[in-house]
Amino acid sequence: MTTSAIITMVVVQVIVTIITAYFFYKVLTTPPRAEPDSFSENDDEQR
């Protein structure tokens, strides 16, 4: 592979991976809203 191809591949794939991981991490770590919310799994929690 040429240097420019390696750089393009690595830069694009690393950036896309980091952004994907960042947004998914935020989804996982953002505290849920108070009930009633959109999700049924925590419906037993106190409203």
Binding site: M1, T2, S4, V12, Q13, K26
Partner: protein, 603 residues
Amino acid sequence: MSVKQESWGTRVGLVLAMAGNAVGLGNFLRFPVQAVQNGGGAFIIPYLICFLLMGIPLLWIEWSMGRYGGRFGNHSTPFILDNMTKKRLWKYFGVFGIFTNIAVAAYYCYIESWTMSYVYHSVMQTFVGMDQNAVAKFFTTYVDIEKSTTGIPYEAIVFYLVCLSLNIYILSRGLSGGVEKVAKIGMPLLILFGIFLAIKSVSMGHAGACADCDSALGLNFLWQPQFDSLTNPKVWLAAAGQIFFTLSVGMGTIHCYAAYVRSKDDIALNAMSAGWMNGFVEIVLGASIVIPIAAGYLGLEWVKENAGFSMAFQTMPYLFQQWGSVLSVVGGVMWFGLLFFAGITSSLAMGTPWMGFMKDEFNWSRNKSALTFGALTLAMGLPTVYFYNEGVFGEYDYWAGTVSLVIFALAEVILFGWVFGIDKGWKELNSGADIKVPGVFKPIIKYVTPLLLLFVFVASLITPKDNDWNKAITQGWELDASSIIGQIQNKGVIVNRDYFADNYQSAVAGIVTSVETTGTRHIIVIGSAESEKPVATYKFKKDKSVSVSEGQEISVGDIVAKGSFTHNIFYTDMARLFLLSLFLFLCFLVYRATVLREKNGRI
């Protein structure tokens, strides 16, 4: 007795289901082929720009519209759109959001059933000892429903029915009990399989016998920047098209999933998470599997000449055989398993708009809605199974899976930015948001995205001959057969234009290189006049008579066989009629629903 309302179980489940809706076979098959056909590394820059200017805005628009509609009890696009404007006609644009899903599911479930079948054949080691041609022929035998590769009669139909039944069962379990559970299992497995195959593929290096057999050459071709291609409108159009199809926008599925999110809950971050997850699967995994493996064993030149959708089934099983007896099974199961999960998470999403519509408007139960979705899909899908080789499959894909998406997306961005109003739309998007949406997207949503979509639509409508834009602009515009207008006119059908005829004409010029009669068929091979390389193969049942002989030179339009023929144009026109009938049937249902709403005081 209270009926439990449909809802998502968890936020992660919603994001994975949305990502699963977007991630489809195209991430692994369409993206690398588009990149190869559009200048390799040059493709990625327009692709990323189109993602920012068209993909992300469309995701946010659809999530916002869906959640807004859900607030008023609407879970499918006809009445989600109706709710956003006083003009009653908009809801008929929303019909596309149900129509597309049923029509696409009809043939998509068929492809999904191929992946199921190929998982089975990988485990059973059916491909062991087959050469490349035998593996390719295996596929053509499989899709010929009169033949069987397993001994099961009508094998392709049996797998199709099993696949459809699985979809119906999961849909009948509801969002949290069915769709979400599949996404929570399927998406992690898909990513895991993809990572394994990508690592194996990238690290295999020089594997085949030819001089240019090297996976690194495949990667180099995909990622070598070629900035001169950036001035070619064809590359930009291909990039915009890919973004469009990969994100599953313009289908109505995102609206439907988002309609079950409450207005105080986030959509902005969820949309980004699902959208970028799709990008990861496509750019990181999709680009690192098919092309490098094929280049490693068959060479870069072979890839440039043969890159296409069929590689997944006609080439990959042969390439996995080169990995040895154990890894070939692992590779086959992972590859077709990955495609199966990509397929089923998308086909389930296609079922939910119909289910949401029938529940909202006619109070149908989940089971009844899921069964009728299956029945409609089967009725629409059987012609694609029976007449796959006659072009019905391609016709569905073009009109329902391509043109309809662009029309609906164009309508919804105009509705959101201009009719509903960008200020109200922006407020809806930001309500409950867990991230700050950059302000620059407000003018992008209002001006840039509609213009880009208009460009995509007009360019598809009047695609110039051979997709050569520079020539069309400088030397006069001649329509390509693949343009929407060209398709309507059947410009691509040069010969055999009658539905029924007593002869069959050749679509190519060349020399008849062989005329054979096997058990039930005559097989005529036409070769190039220069090299005798095969350019067309015609197969006729034995009740037809062959009108050419070996060594004969023939021109386009010359008769090659006589007898009673039903030409492909009949099947493709019938396919269009089928699709139109489905659309009109759905329009009628929406009309009936409107009458019911007026009667019940809901409008």
